[in-house]
């Protein structure tokens, strides 16, 4: 931990110069942060397995937290039904406190349908799902739902550097045997429950954002179907009556990240 090293260095200087003892700090607890090889290997194994899936359906139920200006937190709930077929088909249906949205990608066109408002916008994005992730983020500041499922184990994704990785132990998620891991990275503490056995799928996720003192948390429980049935029409948008086509606003931050 860079921060810890700097702190320790400052501590030594002060101690040497003034011969005074400073009170112990949380950061200086020895052994507080460690990266267990077993925990990072489990993450790598999960990512590698995700990349072998040709098609999958994931249903999630989850919560997110909003921080008010005075630090009060408000919890919002949502469900996701996501169907993906590699390399270039996606359907994600989101319902919850933030409204109802449909994300569709058929390898050529991306559509986002805001059901409540009756608006949809489309963008020509010929390519793979992996390319879609980057293009949407860059051009329109849009993140597809459960984007991690498409990034873990991807050869052209550089995962954030972990400052701590711990195997918490075995447990169950919805009756499925899982191993529970906890990780720390810059700005984020997160936990994943990975299914034990030959299908190392993420079954639960908890993300704790550290960049706000209130530490808003996101949780998600995932239910997997590795043999989904669907037809091609599932990935193409047909506007319902009384809906209107609108534009995507360009990303104001484009090019800055």
């Amino acid at each position: 931990m860079k921060h810890m090293l700097r702190f320790t260095g400052a501590l030594l200087l002060i101690t040497a110069g003034l011969s005074t003892q400073l009170p112990a700090q949380e950061d200086s607890v020895p052994g507080a942060a460690k990266v267990e090889p077993g925990a990072t290997q489990a993450l790598d194994r999960m990512g590698a397995y995700l990349r072998t899936l040709k098609a999958f359906q994931v249903q999630t139920r989850g919560t997110s937290e909003i921080v008010m200006p005075d630090g009060q937190k408000v919890q919002l709930s949502q469900t996701t039904n996501l169907l993906a077929r590699m390399p270039d088909k996606l359907m994600a249906d989101i319902n919850g406190d933030r409204g109802s949205k449909l994300y569709l990608f058929d390898g050529q066109t991306f559509t986002l349908f805001a059901r409540d408002a009756g608006y949809y916008a489309t963008a020509a994005v010929p390519g793979t799902l992996r390319q879609l992730v980057d293009i949407l983020a860059d051009k329109y500041d849009i993140e597809i739902p459960l984007v991690d499922l498409f990034l873990w184990g991807a050869p052209n994704n550089t995962p954030p550097k972990l400052t701590s990785a711990i195997d918490i132990g075995p447990t169950e998620v919805d009756g499925v045997s899982c191993e529970h891991y906890a990780f720390r990275q810059e700005g984020l503490d997160w936990q994943v429950w990975i299914q034990q056995g030959d299908y190392p799928l993420p079954r639960k996720l908890v993300l704790t954002t550290l960049t706000d003192d209130a530490r808003p948390q996101h949780t998600s429980i995932l239910t997997w179907n590795l043999a989904p049935s669907y037809n091609e029409a599932a990935f193409t948008f047909t506007p319902p009556p009384d809906t209107h086509k609108i534009d995507f606003a360009p990303n104001a931050q484009s090019g800055k990240h």
Binding site: S64, E65, I66, V67, M68, P69, D70, V74, L76, D97, R98, G99, K101, L112, A114, D116, A117, Y119, A121, A137, Y140, D141, I142, E143, V147, D148, L151, W152, N157, P159, P160, F183, Q185, G187, L188, W190, L205, L207, T208, T209, T211, D212, A214, P216, Q217, H218, S220, H244, K245, I246, D247, F248, A249, N251, A252, H257
Partner: protein
């Protein structure tokens, strides 16, 4: 920062002027952050969100973090008319008493009403809008203010535009 500066100025003015009703002032400020939803990505973690799901802004002002200055204009105007219309409108009669809250609300209404700056973006529309399609573009006409809906950062938003010709 996704908001233009002019509505913010109006917002600040509203906060100051509405000091007697702090819950209302607080309710008009966007959320300061939200939980990240991705391990691998750190985009869209800002406060561009609208917590309030109520149609009526007055029912739940403490949880309302909508950024729509204009919608609150209507709330304030109503208060002004009801409480103190005669004092400012001149046509109701019977305006009698100086009331600091009502006065503040009246002043705020004026300040906020001018905040419908072309190019500014809001997340919720004022009540009583009409969908108008002109030149193949879908608009929302809300009184004399015209909005063009756009999806920004994945959410439906409305940009104040000049009336279509």
């Amino acid at each position: 920062m996704k908001f233009s500066i002019r509505p913010w100025l109006a917002l600040i003015a509203a906060s100051v002027l509405l000091a007697p009703t702090p819950s209302m002032a607080a309710g008009n400020v966007p959320a300061r952050s939200q939980s990240r939803q991705s391990v691998n990505r750190n985009t869209n973690a800002g406060g561009n969100t609208n917590v309030n799901r109520n149609a009526n802004v007055n029912r739940n002002t403490n949880v309302n973090t909508n950024t729509n200055v204009n919608r609150n204009t209507n709330v304030n105007v109503d208060r002004n008319v009801n409480v103190h219309g005669g004092y400012y409108g001149g046509s109701y009669g019977g305006g009698c008493c100086y009331h600091p809250v009502a006065t503040a609300a009246a002043v705020t209404a004026t300040a906020v009403a001018t905040a419908a700056v072309v190019g500014s973006r809001v997340q919720t529309l004022p009540p009583s809008c009409t969908v108008v399609v002109a030149g193949g573009v879908s608009y929302q006409q809300c009184g004399s203010t015209w909005y063009q809906p756009q999806i920004a950062s994945g959410s439906t938003t409305y940009v104040v535009v000049n009336p279509p010709q």
